[in-house]
Amino acid sequence: MTAFKTLSVAMLKGFIRDKVTLFFTFLFPLMFLIIFGLILRDVGADKTRIAVVGDGPIVSALRDSGALELESYNDVDAAVQKVKDGDLPAALIIRGQQLDVRFAQSDQVKSATVLGIVNGFVDKANLAATGQPPKFTFAAEKVEDASLKPIQFLTPGILSWGVAVSAVFGSALTLVSWRRKQVLRRIRLAPVSAASVLSSRILVSTGVALVQGAIFIGIASLPVFGLRLSGSWWLAIPLLLLGTIAFFALGMLVGAFAKTEEAASAAANIVVLPMAFLSGTFFPVDQAPAWLQTVSKIFPLRHMNDGMLDVLVRGKGIEALAMPAAILVGFSLVVGFLASRVFKWEE
């Protein structure tokens, strides 16, 4: 037991004192989280701005509704010029009862939005002017839908990716460097079981994963990024542990084949990078083409991502863990078995 404890402490110290590893474990994924979080922060929140010349009841109604952002101009030519320059999608010109909309042909989506909204307000005003009660009524209510704000899918994705990267690299590089430096030989010559060496290394990796989780979620929850955790966020903890073990096993497999640290690092990148992109780390995978979604299902990271999303932000319960947990455990067993078959003590 004391060997297990001392080895864990030794490896933890080695980890904390290695600035490069610290960077790639914490700061590097955080950089992605912060950059993407800031770039994508306002996506979907933007309202369309249009130019307005003149005033009247419809303009007031529009302004009160907040459906569009209005920019007032005194001069028709100046407003139209803004549209021609491509600065604004449309200009609304009011001359008494007459409303004209000049819109830019290039941006059809925005123009259609503007036309629809303005038209709606004009129709409503017309109906009110007749004094008739409306024959059809219409009410709108907000629904929390499946499409998420960027920070909501970025955080679980980047967390899973960060955990995967540090587990794969941690185990592959440790294995190769220990083999090269004959630390493995020293361990083999000591009356200590391989299991206690392995488990102490895994303990350090899982500890690191939990710290990663706390830091990433903590920063994403800052007001500037605005992550909102669901009530069942703590279900992410077992997922983090299982994910660490799965990717640790993958790193052992990579480390068994690589002869040098450089080769191990390159091989780990080749495994992890495509997996990260195809598993929905940086963009939600359900927006990808169907064939790509199928392909992404072979990656354990995809399932870890899905599980993280479900429990961290979608508020799903423990049943959402079943599938990802089963896949991660299965992956760990298969890859861990392969790694133990190809494991080499010596170069």
Binding site: T2, A3, K5, T6, L7, A10, M11, K13, G14, R17, D18, S177, K181, Q182, V183, R185, R186, I187, R188, L189, A190, P191, V192, E346
Partner: protein, 303 residues
């Protein structure tokens, strides 16, 4: 030296890697408390021989006994009695000298305080809190030996501990090795420095091409060689003709700076020189293990 008292018994061990016969029928025994050297040039089979005894490799044929037991396959009962010094780089990442010892010690259940005490033995007490990669080559080598000794083993295997060290560091290490032997440990070590083996070892085995060519105490090996002693004097003290006429002189020759006399009976030659007051710049070089190696293999020793 009966076999029951032997720390190591190797009987006709062989190990091939493809065509290469790394160890080709090697037999020897090492007594408890003995300082035993295996020397030979690179590729002679020294390391493979050690690895077979340590239980890291299985011999193709032959027998190995370590304290009466077989070290192969991995014999957990023997492991606490064996200390193996590996390359000077085989440490955990980023740990200090003291932490390295404590970590390796913990693999054997050694307390942290005992482990830290080893730093004294190898003269690294003042470097306890230095990280391993900040140490000099000699210091790292000594730390590596301390790691091999941390669990107080009965036998220590050292594979070229003095390789790539400067002369001062080598001498420091010799003191460490002698201190270990004084603690009653058996030491089996390989080196390609013949001069060092001559000074340190009780017995040496000279290896080349996987075979042991000779095995005896260094002095016996050198004496058995019947090689002449070379007496060197400053040039001009004595003429070549006068020197050649002295009793016991086999041959004398001169170069720009010195006169060299070869003799198999140095005693009368030296007293004759003393009588004539011709001792300026006197140097006496007896045969060394290098001469033994040359004699055994017919070629110059090259490490």
């Amino acid at each position: 030296m009966t076999e029951e008292r032997s720390a190591v018994v190797v009987r006709d061990d062989r190990k091939s890697y493809g065509e290469l016969k790394a160890v080709d029928g090697v037999s020897f025994t090492v007594a408890e408390g003995e300082f035993f050297g295996i020397l030979g040039p690179n590729g002679a089979g020294k390391t493979t021989t050690l690895e077979i005894i340590e239980g890291l490799r299985e011999p193709d044929s032959g027998e190995v006994r370590l304290f009466g037991e077989s070290p192969w396959p991995r014999n957990v009962k023997l492991l606490p009695r064996i200390g193996v010094q590996l390359q000077a780089t085989s440490f955990f990442d980023k740990l200090t000298a003291k932490e390295q010892l404590q970590t390796f010690g913990s693999l054997y259940g050694v307390s942290r305080a005992t482990a830290a005490d080893m730093l004294e033995l190898v003269g690294l007490a003042d470097k306890a809190n230095e990280q391993e990669n900040k140490l000099s080559g000699g210091q790292r080598q000594r730390l590596s030996i301390a790691c091999a000794l941390v669990h107080d083993p009965d036998i220590v295997f050292l594979d070229e501990p003095t390789a790539a060290l400067d002369p001062q560091a080598r001498r420091n290490l010799w003191d460490v090795l002698r201190a270990i032997q004084e603690r009653g440990k058996t030491i089996v070590y390989t080196t390609h420095y013949l001069d060092e083996a001559e000074i340190l070892c009780d017995r040496v085995a000279i290896m080349d091409n996987g075979k042991i060519l000779a095995l005896d105490p260094p002095a016996v090996l050198v004496r058995g060689l019947d090689a002449p002693t070379h007496v060197t004097l400053q040039k001009g003290v004595l003429s070549v003709v006068d020197a050649s006429s002295l009793d016991g002189v086999d041959e004398a020759h001169e170069n720009e700076v010195s006169l060299t006399i070869s003799t198999r009976r140095p005693a009368p030659v030296l007293s004759a020189l003393a009588d004539r007051g011709a001792l300026d710049g006197l140097q006496v070089r007896t045969a060394t293990l290098e001469d033994v190696f040359l004699n055994l293999t017919g070629r110059e020793y090259r490490a």
